[in-house]
């Protein structure tokens, strides 16, 4: 690979995406692209006691779903690049620790997924890896809890207020 200009890398072996998976929350399931998600949840808890645990479960199940779809066993995946919004990327690191895949926790907020793709591709093109996982996770309730106001607070949001996504997405480039 070589660097072109200020912020472009050109790969000698094109990296491709093998498989993807996504799980989203109820609000996303009501949206216009609902049919493209692999699984839509009914509520934000998914049987867990806290939102952080729910977010961990979402990313764990997403990764397992993609690994199953790709038919590559988890032992053959070389690295995992994942991140979320919380302190210490705690939901991704706790959710994916049982995978036993070397884990790079990354933080890029909304750009985490593409950041993972860039880094994973560099690893693959540089012959550091054959298969990697790139994942990103987000949960409206846990993000509101950490960054904004408690959900039960009776404040009014303006019409342009943004709503953090509840969902997780991952893909396996090779």
């Amino acid at each position: 690979m070589e660097k072109i200009g200020l912020q472009t890398i050109k790969f000698s072996n094109p990296v491709t995406i093998l498989e993807t998976a996504s799980i989203v929350g109820p609000k996303e399931a009501d949206g216009p692209i609902a049919k493209y998600f692999d699984q839509c949840l009914d509520d934000e808890f998914w049987g867990e006691k806290t939102w952080e645990k729910a977010e961990s479960k979402i990313i764990k199940e997403t990764v397992n779903m993609a690994i199953t779809k790709s038919k590559i066993p988890a032992q053959d995946i070389d690295f995992c690049f994942a991140g979320d919004l919380l302190n210490q990327c705690i939901s991704s690191s706790f959710g994916l620790r049982e995978l036993n895949i070397p884990f790079f926790g990354i933080f890029g907020a909304c750009s985490t997924f593409v950041e993972g793709l860039c880094l994973g591709s560099v690893f693959i093109d540089g012959n550091g890896a054959n298969n990697v996982i790139c994942a990103a996770s987000s949960h409206f309730c846990s993000a509101e809890k950490q960054f904004r106001f408690p959900l039960e607070l009776g404040n009014q949001r303006p019409p342009t207020a943004q709503w953090t996504v509840t969902g997780s997405r991952m893909c396996i480039p090779y």
């Binding site: 006691k49 806290t50 939102w51 952080e52 809890k145 106001f149 408690p150 959900l151 039960e152 607070l153 009776g154 404040n155 009014q156 949001r157 303006p158 019409p159 342009t160």
Partner: protein
Amino acid sequence: MKPLDTKKDYQNYVDKKSPNSPIFKNCFNAFWVGGLICSIGQIIMDFCKFRGLDKTLSSTIVSIILIFISAFLTGLNLFNKIGKFAGAGSLVPITGFANSIVSPAMEYKSEGYVMGVGAKMFTVAGPVLVFGISASILVGIVYLIFNTQSITLV
């Protein structure tokens, strides 16, 4: 779409495209819900006075009842629906203050009772308490100065 050159151009573009809050509707809802809450408080106060309680005790009872109702509705996850509708109407009276303490307490229960509920209970109400009490101290000091001064002048 023509290219946007400056930050000001972009801000103008965003303002043009963003939907405005329905101000009249929000003000009207805040007005009648806030008025209703205060009327309920007044009814309770008149009832207490009717039963022979003095003014201070009646107003304390009004506060207690309104705080209880607000905390109870917050616990049932209903107060935030009222708040979305009424805005300042439910947030400005004492009901909003109670909600602002109960909601973080509920949210942080998952982190334990001491470090979660205990430590984080005042995250929303904290600034209200700090600046409200500080302002009242300043007012008290001003009152003390001017009150003493007026006595010495006489």
